[in-house]
Amino acid sequence: MSKSVAENKVISFHNVYKTYANETVLRDINFNVQSGECIVLVGHNGAGKTSLMKLMLGLTRPTSGQVEVLGRNPAFSAAVAQRLALGYLPESVAFYEAMTGREVLMFYARLKGSSISECENLLELVGLGDAAKRRVGTYSKGMRQRLGLAQAMLGNPQLLFLDEPTTGLDPILRQHFYELIDELQKDGATSIISSHSLHEVEARASRFVILKSGVIVTMGSLDELYQQATLPVRLKVSVAEGQASRVADRMGSAVNILYVNNESFHLTCLSSEKMPLIRHISSLGEDVQDMQIMPPRLDELYTYFMRAGEE
């Protein structure tokens, strides 16, 4: 245990395969998570995000390979006690419908040895203070999600697993939710979040793990992903009225002109060609009035990796 703390590695996957019946849902998964990281698992439905989480939570066992969480195999009974340090929000979380929100949270709190006052604080924090007396059966999707978040945060977990946490939350709550994660992050918590878009916790994610059909397509920080992807950069060049097509003709062969209208045109070029092109455009003098550089959007980046996996 102390060894893994020294390495600061809280989760590790080593050649993990997971097969259900005849279907292989995870193939050759290898990755480590360092303490304090915020990892976002990205992929379509059925890409293996939830399967990956269940392995880390010890709900399932790998068909082959090793999973370690906090230095232990999470599926072993020896790992039961360390679940105290763990919080989990399942995708479309289910509760005991007949219990009130407060009763549900109190039940989970007792299992974790958390106090009554902590429950009350959490209920206030997620904005369920007034609804705490109502039966969970009457809750909306968003309220369930918030209750789910409250239970995941019981006992200040070191390790937080959130499966599609922001579905069903309105934008204000979503923002609020990110702030909550920030706070845990500040205390040094590690979080694993699954999502089907790169927009999820964009700025907070230390690394994205992109999954497709049970295989890790790639992983890295947003910057690293941009570098890996040879996505074209898009430029919008504004010129004096009527000059657009004339200037566009002088762009050279390295660019791809998208479209031209009267006073501007759009083009794309490879990242590597970007600086020479900008220098060239600047040298054109008075004809060019303005220039905008648009880096590839997250959606394009995501689509790129999804397609790359196909080929």
Partner: protein, 279 residues
């Protein structure tokens, strides 16, 4: 903060207990068992003029004959949904990410459900006897009545355990409900029907008494019946089977042991399946 295993069991048991109170389950069971006990003891005391048996002895005979059908049914209703319901709704998945081990989940539920049954039986049957005493009934034979309450609880525990086994084996709640009825029919009705049918057809040719006794002993419901009808002289005299059980070598501890085994074996099997289950 480390929570002790015992406290964890209690937290889980308490949840089941509260569920039982909240959905009026406990109240309904108390009412049902209590009403039946009063009705049977009122009915039972009517034709006893010429028989030596006290009121309570007669009540034990009729009430245990009815309990053998009713208690398994109540226990199965409590337990068939206990695991498959949580699998299906998805609450089990979340529960198992908490610092509870799987045996604690099973035993916590078991403790809770046995407590519910304890309350129902002791408040229902016990309450009935209090009312009977207030109505002027004699207390003679109370030991047999108390033994019946405890053995009813044990019989209930058997069917809670069997219900769990069924609940962990099936894939859907609907299947569990259907199988629970099937299980009840087999254990409470069909087994005896087949056994006695075989005995009648055989006319004492091949089936030895020893085999018949063993086959009866194997069944938890028959063990319960024999236990209640033969444990106390007053009851067995009134039932007309005085001395038969002890002649056949069926002591009360053997009968209790059989029922206990019927609690432990299904529970262990449930745990075995549950431990291997992936969610």
């Amino acid at each position: 903060m480390k929570i002790s295993g015992v406290k964890m069991l209690w937290v889980l048991a308490q949840k089941e207990l509260r569920d039982g109170l909240r959905n009026r389950w406990i109240g309904a069971a108390i009412l049902l068992l209590g009403t039946l006990a009063i009705a049977l003891s009122l009915l039972g005391s009517a034709p006893t003029g010429s028989v030596r048996a006290s009121d309570l002895d007669i009540t034990v005979i009729s009430l245990s004959s009815l309990s053998v059908y009713l208690i398994p049914l109540i226990a199965l209703m409590l337990s068939f949904d206990a695991l498959v319901g949580e699998f299906e709704r998805g609450t089990m998945m979340l529960l198992l990410t908490y610092p509870v081990s799987r045996w604690q989940v099973i035993m916590g539920k078991f403790l809770g459900h046995v407590l519910i049954l304890f309350i129902a039986i002791f408040a229902g049957y016990g309450g009935a006897i209090l009312i009977m005493i207030m109505l002027g009934s004699s207390l003679e034979g109370w030991q047999a009545y108390l033994a019946m309450m405890f053995s009813s609880l044990l019989l209930g525990a058997v069917f809670i355990a069997l219900g769990y086994l069924l609940s962990v084996l099936v894939k859907e709640r609907a299947t569990a409900a259907g199988s629970a009825i099937g299980l009840w029919l087999v254990f409470v009705v069909l087994y005896d029907l087949v056994l006695f049918g075989a005995l009648l057809l055989d006319e004492g040719q091949k089936m030895s008494q020893q085999l018949f006794v063993t086959l009866m002993l194997i069944s938890p419901t028959d063990s319960y019946r024999i236990f209640n009808l033969s444990l106390f002289d007053g009851v067995s005299d009134a039932a007309g089977i005085a001395g038969i059980a002890s002649e056949a070598g069926m002591s009360s501890s053997l009968l209790t042991g059989v029922m206990l085994l019927w609690v432990i074996v299904p529970l262990v099997m449930t745990l075995f399946v549950f431990q291997r289950r992936e969610l």
